[in-house]
């Protein structure tokens, strides 16, 4: 049993709300280290109120203990999670499962400009590929997603928001 194996196990645990993504692909897995015989996994919340944190922690401890590791989970708040941290593989998995992947996150710095016009993103429908889509709501079924509708195939879809 090595730290590399522990990392491999931790990296394979999936997100409870978007199970097509591993915690690593989502970018919330920040580190795996050994501390006095115990495996310490560090994760970061996507949003402050992310209700899936406890489940992620339990899933990590569970999977690692199945693999023979004594594990605990710590939280890292800084740097704050960004949708830019979703890996290429993660973005592919999102699209394959009918979710639209986020574009580049807005850059921080200076007073944050007000956006009064509806948010415009250049998206394509994850089902039919059409670029004719419209925003239904900036807030979706989970904190990290917005709701869209494709005006070509008429199917609704979710878009992972840029933060």
């Amino acid at each position: 049993m090595t730290a590399a194996t522990a990392r491999e196990v931790a990296a394979s645990v999936t997100d409870p709300e978007m199970p097509m993504l591993t915690l690593e692909d989502l970018g919330v897995l920040r580190g795996v280290r050994e501390d006095d015989g115990q495996v310490v996994v560090t994760i970061t919340p996507t949003y402050s109120g992310c209700p899936a944190m406890a489940t992620m922690r339990d899933d990590l401890v569970h999977r690692l203990s199945d693999a023979g590791f004594d594990a605990r989970v710590e939280v890292a708040l800084s740097p704050a999670w960004s949708s830019d941290w979703i890996t290429e593989r993660g973005r592919r998995a999102l699209r394959e499962h009918g979710l639209s992947a986020p574009g580049p996150a807005p850059r921080a710095g200076g007073p944050i400009a007000l956006t009064l016009a509806p948010v415009r993103r250049r998206l394509s429908c994850p089902r039919c590929g059409s670029g004719q889509v419209e925003l239904t709501s900036e807030f979706g079924p989970a904190a990290c997603r917005a709701l869209y509708r494709c005006t070509s195939c008429l199917e609704p879809f979710e878009h992972v928001k840029e933060i």
Binding site: V40, T42, P45, Y47, S48, G49, C50, P51, M53, A54, T55, R57, D58, D59, V61, H62, S65, D66, V73, E74, V75, A76, L77, S78, P79, A80, W81, P106, A108, P111, I112, L114, T115, L116, P118, V119, T136, S137, E138, F139, G140, P141, A143, L147, K161, I163
Partner: protein
């Protein structure tokens, strides 16, 4: 017809065995969808208060920011299943959830900085400090501004309130990212991203309602007029805020006043709405929400919010 009671010791096993697969692993509650214990939102985070920073002042400041979020989160969550349509219901629930997350981190930070702020609970109580702060303080222990606590009106009233609070809070959090307290700085950096969505959501609805129908405009102006006297309190610097700002830990709200005005002016102008002409709601002998002086509405809200937790101070959920 009767069913025999299943024998838990039967060797044949039953359908629930799978659920208990890991019951012998200490701390492994993964058979439960959301676990069975409380999790520390700051697990593993170094909460040492930087040297020469007054821990009591830092804790008091975190309570102010945390209580604003907690109380407004509760008000916004009252829209659940009551919003004008499903999309807005979900949007408001998301905003409430973000604020609740901010509140949880800030109350946990307050408790870690100065455990003296946490109400005492019966021995053996599993309630974590941030929950003790949320559920076991009376109204006069809360440090939120009164703008966050007054009862909901209609949807337009909520749009106006979220716009006012999110605009001021975003400006404060933006500067708070440079706090000398690394925990507070990290909480602020996360919050900025969320509050940007809240502010812009409310601003868009503000414009939509103002330029919508006669009725939507009437309601928006009514909501704004009702809330306006409570707004100055949010931009007034309390001595605790002045102290933490001087120490490079906090932000004096008065210092972001101009920035907040610019954003609000932009929204008001594009919406064709005049700034209401109403004086600030006075405190009582100079005391306002930040001093624990609240409107009656907060006690009523807390009675509902806290009743279950208070009935079971040693409960495990």
């Amino acid at each position: 017809m009767s069913h025999s009671t299943p024998d838990p010791n039967a060797t044949g096993g039953n359908v629930y065995d799978g659920l208990l697969e890991h019951h012998d692993v200490v701390g492994d509650d993964s058979q439960w969808a959301f676990g069975t214990d409380f999790e520390d939102p700051l697990a593993g985070v170094d909460t040492t208060v930087p040297e020469d920073v007054d821990a009591a002042a830092l804790a008091a400041y975190c309570l102010m920011l945390g209580d604003d979020a907690l109380v407004l989160s509760h008000r916004v969550s009252e829209w659940c299943s009551n919003a004008p349509d499903l999309e807005e219901d979900i949007a408001l629930a998301n905003i409430a959830l973000d604020l609740l997350g901010q509140a949880r981190l800030l109350l946990a930070r307050a408790a870690a900085a100065d455990p003296g702020v946490v109400p005492a609970l019966p021995e053996g109580s599993p309630v974590p400090p941030e929950d003790a702060l949320a559920f076991f303080r009376d109204a006069d222990g809360f440090r939120n501004v009164r703008l966050a606590e007054v009862p909901n009106g209609d949807f337009a009233h909520t749009v106006a309130r979220v716009l006012l609070v999110a605009t001021a809070r975003l400006a404060v959090f933006d500067r708070l990212r440079d706090s000398r307290d690394p925990v507070l700085a990290a909480i602020a950096a996360k919050g900025v991203k969320e509050l940007t969505y809240h502010r812009d959501y409310a601003a868009r609805w503000f414009l939509t309602l103002a330029q919508g129908t006669e009725e939507s405009r009437r309601r928006l102006l009514g909501g704004l007029a009702e809330l306006w006297p409570l707004f100055p309190e949010l931009l007034t610097t309390h001595p605790v805020e002045a102290a933490v700002a001087a120490a490079g830990v906090g932000v004096a709200p008065a210092d972001v006043g101009d920035e907040v005005e610019v954003v609000l002016e932009q929204v008001l102008a594009v919406s064709g709405v005049e700034r209401p002409d109403a004086a600030a709601l006075a405190g009582v002998q100079g005391r306002t929400g930040r001093d624990g002086l609240h409107t009656e509405a907060l006690s009523r809200m807390l009675a509902e919010m806290q009743v279950v937790a208070r009935a079971h101070p040693t409960g495990r959920w």
